[in-house]
Symmetry: C2
Subunit: 319 residues, 2 copies
């Protein structure tokens, strides 16, 4: 059976990837790396026990190499990332090292060991920078104009991926992933935070919903569709190519907030919190799904309402 090495295995996306593998590739061997503790309580106990977990920094090259030699992964799902745009402004160097350099260490170790692993290099819609509405939906050949340290780190990772794929024939498929939504996402992400507040309000624990700028439009894709797209790309994506992972549809945050309240069957006053407003933010981002669809016949299975329902259900149980 095939072997997966998943970096950042304790994270939100990795948890859904594990659920996907448990269901669709139950015999796959799983190796995971994370420096954070993991909570896999959403996985069946037997499955959970089969996951081999390692705790070390991806800056520790000898440990990366040793694990690659032990695991001999067919697939490397590189999800470890310093992924907050806001924090990247606080600590740009840390963000760069913990995105670009950790990726470089993995790609270089695979090259040095002449491993046959296929690598998934995850990028971000942030790489496009501030875009004009008339240039959306964004295709992969749109100009990259990274406007934050996080976005620069992602573009650098992408450029390195291309050189490894072209220059050394390392098998690397790249993504530019758009906004994720889904159960278990932390509440500092807008949609999950709104859903949590709605459940809290419903239970009488708060009187209003606070939010930042809800006029912005984003392309939300359910995390369960994201991990399915990632696995399809690892299997069938073309090495060296880059693919948007998105829904192709844009919603304003204010419309999301309305839909969440409709789903919850309840309405609350909405209060803007100036502390949640960002100094510079992209008013409108929507991606084109066309290239991904052509390459691996991918269509999202979760509509926006399915996703919002799942997020509300999650907070109903979690709170």
């Amino acid at each position: 059976m095939s072997a997966y090495l998943i970096t950042g295995i304790s994270g939100f996306v990795a948890g859904h990837y594990l659920e996907y593998l448990a269901k669709n590739k139950p015999g796959a061997r799983i190796f995971g790396i994370d420096e954070r503790p993991s909570d896999f309580s959403f996985l069946e106990e037997g499955y959970r026990k089969g996951i081999k977990l390692y705790s070390f920094s991806l800056m520790d090259v000898p440990s990366v190499e040793a694990l690659l030699e032990e695991a001999k992964p067919d697939y490397i799902v590189h999800l470890a990332s310093y992924s907050s745009v806001a924090s990247s402004w606080q600590n740009p160097a840390l963000c760069f090292v913990n995105n670009t350099n950790i990726f470089l260490n993995i790609a270089e170790s695979v090259r040095k060991l002449a491993a046959k692993s296929r690598i998934l290099s995850v990028g971000s819609s942030e790489e496009y920078g501030i875009v004009r509405k008339e240039d959306t939906p964004l295709k992969e050949d749109a100009k990259l104009d990274p406007a934050s340290p996080y976005a620069v780190a992602r573009v650098s990772q992408e450029l390195l991926s291309e050189v490894y794929a072209r220059g050394y024939n390392t098998h690397i498929v790249r993504t530019r992933s758009f906004n994720h939504i889904g159960p278990r996402q932390r509440e500092n992400f807008a949609v999950s935070g709104f859903a949590r507040q709605i459940i809290e309000a419903k239970r009488g624990r708060r009187q209003e919903i606070t939010c930042g700028d809800i006029g912005i439009t984003r392309d939300f894709i359910d995390v369960r569709d994201v991990v399915r797209a990632y696995d399809l790309l690892l299997e069938k994506g073309e090495s060296g190519q880059v693919y948007n992972v998105c829904s192709g549809k844009g919603y304003t945050l204010s419309r999301i907030l309305e839909m969440l309240q409709e789903e919850a069957g309840i309405g609350f006053p909405v209060q803007k919190d100036p502390l949640l407003m960002r100094p510079v933010d992209n008013p409108f981002i929507v991606g084109s799904l066309e290239k991904l669809n052509k390459a691996v016949s991918f269509e999202p299975e979760y509509g926006i309402k399915d996703s919002l329902r799942s997020v509300l259900d999650y907070w109903e149980k979690a709170l």
Copy 2:
């Protein structure tokens, strides 16, 4: 008087920068970093003794910060670099760290200490990648398409520079510097190597000149013009902007080889060495000088024949 911190001070470009400063800003205080030994025998002894030299890796952030606090440089001329395209393919990770990460450490230290230093971030014409002749002379808004680990490292440095300049108001002027020529350049660079061979042949030590692909066209600029452009950019360049540093003129290597033999007043058979051919090389690179010229009224002072004469003179004395 103003203070300069020069990284990579033992290198070819730094040596010429020091000669420029000795002549044009004799009172400037000079701090230099390099892990290699330096040979400043071309400088007057008194001047040489005034240079404060430090030897540590630019990956050593506490040492970088301590030196910034001691030197309080008005100008940081960041010339330290892992600058060989060929070697970058042998050791891509080392190249990336010793270009992009060392730059990041400097920029981040300047930001953290809120230093008022102006930084010169040196990039390369390699960032443009393989270009079509009809797209030359290359302007700064041309697409970047880095095709080697070295070029990727340079583009990443440039993107970081832009974020620091825009996001933190760190004063950083960026360049894309084209092929340098001039005395004291090592013989593994084409023009210097040709000149050395011609002098050797003139003295009867060899019968022929060996070369790689001499059909390629390059934009050569004399290193003495390069350092003058750098100093003008540090003084008057706009932070966050990127400037080609080039002559605006293209010569094939075969024409250069002819001119060198004309200057030397002697001719030898030319033999192609397959080992000197590169698997992929850009056939034609010429830059546009327009933006640099407008910004700081720069025009090269050394014509191609002046440069070739100087390189021949250097080998006449050195051999």
